[in-house]
Symmetry: C2
Subunit: 138 residues, 2 copies
């Protein structure tokens, strides 16, 4: 598993941090997008049709989901299969490459869930200290 | 370690995937930013002054680095310490929270480095197939 290897090769990775950083930066421009993350998370449970993905995610627009799925297809992370039924049926499914992204995103996801309260409290403290707090009172 | 816990709680996590997804989406809007990733990577080796961070990262503008460091400070991931020396010295350092992000980003980084050639080749194939390839010839 790549993630275990990454931790085990911790020391070796130190030397390559800069190269890793740049590669990660480029890839994060794509996979760091919130809709990409949600689509990969939704498809992690199996292939789905467009409308099912849309329903699962909830707050995504038709256009945004179309763009996200097309970008994922272009990156080789999702396959789009059209069935010649009436009405026509189109299914989206993670490829092996797409599935390999599930674990790294889950680890980052666990970090986000665990630390969200800390981050939010740090933000409030910072805004109080710098006087930039938004006035929410009625 | 949060990352190991995340993998072990794989099944429990399935049930919470949707909540995780949303929290991750919000956090990724911040930490998924390429400059944030590079700053955290650069500071992972220890505290640094502004100009040193800038030199390490290379292609970042003064303004973008200022904004990124301030956002990280607001999120409680970086401390900014000013020393009353002549000339004044300001050092940036990862907090405990900031340091806890290093491993998740390193795992994602290892994924990015490992799969970048595959993604690039998938893109070329997709563009050839859909006729959207950019003309690079002279």
């Amino acid at each position: 598993m790549a993630s275990v290897a990454a931790v085990e090769e911790h020391d070796a990775a130190n030397a390559n941090d800069h190269a890793n950083c740049r590669a990660l930066g480029q890839i994060l421009d794509r996979v760091g997008d919130k809709w990409t993350v949600m689509v990969v998370g939704t498809l992690s449970r199996g292939p789905l049709r467009f409308n099912s993905i849309m329903r699962e995610i909830g707050a995504v627009s038709h256009r945004m989901l179309t763009l996200t799925l097309r970008a994922l297809e272009r990156d080789g992370m999702v396959t789009r299969t059209a069935y010649a039924t009436i009405p026509p049926k189109v299914e989206y499914e993670l490829t092996v490459l797409g599935r390999s992204l599930i674990d790294p995103l889950r680890i980052l996801s666990a970090w986000a869930v665990e630390n969200q309260p800390t981050i939010e409290s740090a933000r409030r403290q910072f805004d109080d200290a710098t006087g930039q707090r938004e006035i929410v009172k009625a």
